[in-house]
Each structure stands twice: as structure tokens, then as C-alpha cells.
């Protein structure tokens, strides 16, 4: 679905060059999912098996099913994230079921932030967050390569200064 509408915008005119996210974020999210739910499944299986009998241990299959479902969902969500730097604005498109597409003109950017938490750092990832004067502007790009995040930050700041418009 989402790729279809993306192609539509590309056909319509000065086609934006979309960039997807690097696979690092996908790897990180899937690993976290497997680790936490895997631990839960083992704990549930052991506890139920020892306390209530082996038949109850079948409930441990529930987290395993969640892992399978989450594996697919994370993949779809990751594929849906993409951004495009156009001449005058930044486009961010995301979401599978709840789609959202954000356009932020460079001149309206007040602040560009690069953040990286401990887990993200371990996987070599960084997020770029844009702030405008409107708090509702929800423009963030997660899971970028740190070098790419810094390049994006510098480029956005530069373009923002050149086209600055404020409130």
C-alpha cells in the first residue's frame, strides 16, 4: 500500500529521492525482541512446567508466537520509514497501518538534534530530531548511521540558516 502512494508522488513532479533506513535499526529491534520475549518464554515454560505440570508449559508458546508476529511487524515498520531531502524541505514518511508523512521547510527549523542512547550506540546508530516553533511537528529519523546523522545535521543546519524564516 505505502509503496504505491510513494510511487504516485514520484510520478507527479520533481520526484523526491527517498532514502530508507540502514539495516542496523532492524537488526537492533529484532534482537531486542528475541532476547526479551525469548527470556520470557523460557521463564514461563520453566515456572509453569515445574509448578503446574508439563501441559501448562505449552503457554510458553505464546511469547514465541509473539516473536514471530513482532519479527514481521518490525520488518514492515522498518521498511516503511524513509526520508527525502528536497531543495527546500525535508520529507519524512513512515507507518504501515497508521501512515504519516511530514514536510518541514528548512527555513522553519529551529534546532536539529542528534541523539544516541546506550543501546543505540552499541549497535552504531543515532537518531536525528528536528524541532520547529510548533511542538506538534513530529519530525524524527531514528536508526541512522552516526556519520550519516551528522552529515544530515550539518546539511540541515546549513540549509536552515540560509533560508531562516522563524516564527
Amino acid at each position: 500500500m505505502e509503496t504505491g502512494s510513494g510511487q504516485n508522488t514520484e510520478v507527479a513532479g520533481d520526484e523526491p529521492v527517498w532514502t530508507g533506513l540502514p539495516p542496523g535499526l532492524l537488526r537492533m529491534r529484532r534482537l531486542l525482541l528475541v532476547v526479551w520475549l525469548g527470556l520470557l518464554a523460557v521463564a514461563m515454560g520453566l515456572l509453569l512446567g515445574l509448578l503446574c505440570g508439563p501441559a501448562w508449559a505449552a503457554f510458553a508458546l505464546l511469547p514465541l508466537a509473539l516473536i514471530c508476529w513482532g519479527w514481521v511487524m518490525i520488518g514492515r515498520n522498518w521498511r516503511s520509514w524513509r526520508y527525502a531531502e528536497r531543495a527546500d524541505d525535508l520529507l519524512i514518511s513512515r507507518g504501515v497501518l497508521w501512515r504519516e508523512e511530514t514536510v518541514v521547510p528548512y527555513g522553519r527549523m529551529q534546532l536539529v538534534e542528534v541523539t544516541s542512547g546506550p543501546v543505540e550506540r552499541h549497535f552504531g546508530l543515532a537518531s536525528v530530531q528536528l524541532h520547529t516553533a510548533a511542538a506538534a511537528t513530529d519530525a524524527a529519523i531514528p536508526g541512522l548511521d552516526p556519520a550519516e546523522a551528522e552529515r544530515l545535521r550539518d546539511r540541515l543546519t546549513e540549509l536552515g540558516e540560509a533560508r531562516s524564516a522563524g516564527l
Binding site: 501512515r99 511530514t102 522553519r108 510548533a134
Partner: protein
């Protein structure tokens, strides 16, 4: 080459900029005297049984001693906070230095001013003083100048506006108050009638009259009834009498310094919004006002707390005021608003008819509501970002929402547009918001 230049600048600065610091009006310490009294009353209301027990234990001597300690302490605190609060106007900033133990210095840049409010609570009117507040994005309550002498407040406002407008610093003193032309005045009769015709007034009144007796029948507990009745009565009073008192004598004027809004029966308030500061305007039309053709106009200015532009006025008058507030903008007529496609009714039954959208050269106008109609206008130059959202159910019916974010933290949404139309709107609106800025006036509006 550079070193002498830097030296020059350093030497020049003190003589070029003789920053004279001023203090607030000497009556200011008195307002702090309320604090201990308020604390005692608050404690008494919070825990009445305990208070009664304590009161019976108190003797006259202890009371006198307590008074002898508390009153001078409060007076001293008030005096010291006044003594340590200074403000100064420089070429580019208003500086406020305050704090007894924790020093706090606020430098407010004048070209960033979104609005200036001069307010006078009832007691301040009696004493002939006023509060002055600069609305800049991010300022808080502490950044107001309370209190100044009435005339001093007006002179300071004129000077701040002149400096913010870009008049030369030497002449900024003498520019004085810009002449104002009245655009609209709300007659008290219309205001009273409009409140009578507002559903919220009746709703809160009925709640205040019906709920306490019912509670009394159910519980027979005085405290429960009082605890619910008092807030309900307060809400009813605020939404009827309170609104009348605060919106009484509402006057909207126009001057080279921008929009002037004066209102209030007991507490007077004078707001000045310089040109180009208004982010969104909303025209609200409650159901019962429709027969009379009345509307209410609300506005959003970044960092300002006042959100009403016109409490009640006939539609044509209100639209004329909006045209003055947003130069070059005409309010799109009802016929120009395009409804969402019919299938939007599958997402929002019945109410989908209330949605509408019109995009002109200068504004993005979105309407919502069926009984209480609201038309929100955003000039393209004020759009900070544009978003398109679409949920799964909306995707099924090929509709999408377009959100336009403005700097006053208000988002205007065009709901349930045809998906193709929404995608084009997103692109076109981003383009318009970028180019719409070119015709805008500079921050320093007199330059």
C-alpha cells in the same frame, strides 16, 4: 588590524550604552503581604476540623506574638524582593534582574516580542499601578513587571514598541504612544445576550443547581455537598458573570504598533499585538447565535495567554476585523468551502458534513463542527510544518487528514480529504508555506 577594532568596541561600549536600571513601583511589596495570609487560609480550608481544635487552644497572647512575628517577616520579605528587582531597557533588550537568594536575570530580545500586555487588577486600579508583561516564546509568569505606575507602564510600553519597531534608540523615548483607531466595540447588551445564548453557561448553571440537592438526598453529608457545590458554583459563576466582567467593554483598535485589545469591567487589560504576530484566527459560531448572525473570533499569538479577539460581533464586522488583523486575507465564504467526499461518512458518520476546506492565495482555511461551527484560518506564511496522516480505516475509504502546524502550538486539521487530493495538498501547502513568507513584513515593522 583586528585588535584595535576590538579595543575600540570594548572602550566604546560603556559610554555608548549607559544602561539605567530602574526599580518597580514602591507599592509592590504590599502584594507580597498576602502570601502568609493566603497560606493560613488555605490550610484552614484544607483541614477544617484540625483548624478548629488548634483555634480553641490558642490564647490571645500567642496570637499576638504570632502576628508580631509573621507580619514584619512578610513585610521584610516583600521589601527585599522589591529592593532586589531591577529592570532596564537597552537598545535591543529588556533586562529583568531579580531574586533574593537565587539570582535570576532575564534578557528579553525586543524584536522577538509577540505581544505586550498591560493589566490592572481591581486593587491595582485603586492604587494607580499596572502590570506589564512581554509575551515572547518561552517567557513565564516571573518575567512580568509588577507593578509599575500607571503612566510609567504606558510610557514604557510605548518605548518598548518603538524600539521593537526599529526606531532609532535616541528617538525611541520621544516617539510616544502611536495613535489608535477603533475598529470594534462590543455593547454590553450584546455581550450579555450572547452569554445567555451560550450552552456552556446554562450547562454549568444547571449542574450547580441540580447536583448538590441530589447529593444531599443521597448522602446527607454537609461536607460532601459543600465540596462539590463550591467548585460547581465557581465554574457557573466564571462561565457567566466572570466572562461578562472580563469581556465587558471589549474594544479592538488598530494603530501603527499593531492591534490593540482593551477589555474588562473590574480588572482592566490592554494588549498590543504588533503586526505579523498572529498565527491563527478561528471564527466560532455557536448554534444559538446563528439566527442573529453573530460570531466569536479567537486568535493565537505565540507565547500569549489571551485567545479572544472579538467576544461577539455580527459576522460582517468580525470578518472586517479579521481582514485588518491578517492583512490581505479575506475570509472564504461558506460556499467556497469544499466538503470531503461522500465516503468520508463511513469514517465519521453525520459529522463529516461539518468538515470543509478552502485554500486561497493567502490562507489555509479548515472548518469543522456541525452545530458549533469553527472556521480556522492559517496564513501560509505562518505554517511551520505540514503533515498527512492516514489510519487503516481511512485508507480503506481512500481518505486522509492534512495537519498544518503553526508556531503558537496550534494545529489546524483538514479532515477526511480524498487521498489523492490530500497528497497534492501536502505538496502544494509545503510549497506555499515556503513562498508565502516572501511577502511577509519584517520583525521590526517600522524599518
Amino acid at each position: 588590524m583586528t585588535t584595535p577594532g576590538v579595543d575600540d568596541a570594548v572602550q566604546e561600549k560603556p559610554e555608548k550604552e549607559p544602561v539605567t536600571e530602574r526599580r518597580l513601583h514602591p507599592i509592590t511589596p504590599l502584594r507580597r503581604a498576602w502570601a502568609p495570609v493566603a497560606v493560613v487560609i488555605g490550610w484552614a480550608v484544607h483541614d477544617p476540623d484540625q483548624t478548629q481544635r488548634q483555634l480553641t487552644r490558642l490564647t490571645t497572647t500567642t496570637l499576638l506574638i504570632a502576628l508580631a512575628v509573621v507580619v514584619p517577616a512578610a513585610a521584610l520579605y516583600g521589601f527585599l524582593t522589591w529592593w532586589f528587582t531591577h529592570f532596564a531597557v537597552t537598545d535591543t533588550e529588556l533586562r529583568i534582574r531579580t531574586g533574593l537568594l537565587f539570582r535570576r536575570t532575564a534578557h528579553i530580545r525586543l524584536e522577538r516580542i509577540q505581544a505586550i500586555d498591560v493589566t490592572q487588577p481591581l486593587l491595582a486600579r485603586v492604587a494607580g499601578v499596572a502590570k506589564l508583561r512581554l509575551d515572547v516564546v518561552g517567557t513565564d509568569k516571573k518575567d512580568e513587571l509588577a507593578f509599575l505606575g500607571e503612566r510609567e507602564a504606558r510610557a514604557l510600553r510605548a518605548e518598548l514598541l518603538a524600539r521593537a519597531a526599529g526606531f532609532a534608540p535616541e528617538t525611541a523615548h520621544e516617539v510616544g504612544e502611536a495613535p489608535a483607531r477603533e475598529l470594534l466595540h462590543t455593547p454590553p447588551r450584546d455581550l450579555a445576550l450572547s452569554l445567555v445564548l451560550t450552552g456552556a453557561t446554562w450547562g454549568s448553571l444547571v449542574a450547580a443547581l441540580v447536583v448538590p440537592p441530589l447529593l444531599w438526598m443521597a448522602t446527607h453529608s454537609v461536607w460532601t455537598v459543600l465540596a462539590t457545590a463550591l467548585p460547581l458554583l465557581g465554574a457557573a459563576g466564571a462561565s457567566s458573570v466572570g466572562r461578562f466582567v472580563s469581556e465587558y467593554d471589549w474594544t479592538v483598535g488598530e494603530s501603527p504598533d499593531g492591534l490593540r485589545i482593551d477589555h474588562g469591567l473590574l480588572d482592566r487589560s490592554h494588549e498590543t499585538v504588533p503586526p505579523g504576530r498572529v498565527q491563527t484566527v478561528r471564527i466560532v459560531e455557536p448554534l444559538l447565535w446563528r439566527r442573529r448572525g453573530w460570531v466569536r473570533v479567537e486568535l493565537d499569538v505565540a507565547g500569549s495567554s489571551n485567545s479572544v479577539l472579538v467576544p461577539v460581533a455580527p459576522r460582517e464586522v468580525a470578518e472586517a476585523v479579521v481582514a485588518r488583523v491578517l492583512p490581505g486575507v479575506t475570509v472564504p465564504p461558506l460556499s467556497a468551502l469544499v466538503r470531503p467526499p461522500r465516503r468520508a461518512g463511513r469514517c465519521v458518520p453525520v459529522w463529516w458534513r461539518g468538515y470543509g476546506l478552502a485554500v486561497t492565495d493567502s490562507v489555509f482555511a479548515a472548518r469543522q463542527g456541525l452545530l458549533r461551527r469553527t472556521l480556522a484560518l492559517v496564513p501560509h506564511a505562518k505554517v511551520q510544518s505540514v503533515r498527512l496522516t492516514q489510519g487503516p480505516w481511512e485508507r480503506l475509504w481512500r481518505v486522509a487528514d492534512v495537519h498544518v502546524d503553526t508556531g503558537a502550538n496550534k494545529t489546524v486539521t483538514a479532515r477526511l480529504r480524498d487521498a489523492q487530493e490530500a497528497a497534492e495538498l501536502l505538496k502544494a501547502q509545503a510549497e506555499r508555506s515556503r513562498t508565502g513568507r516572501k511577502g511577509a513584513r519584517p520583525d521590526r515593522w517600522m524599518v
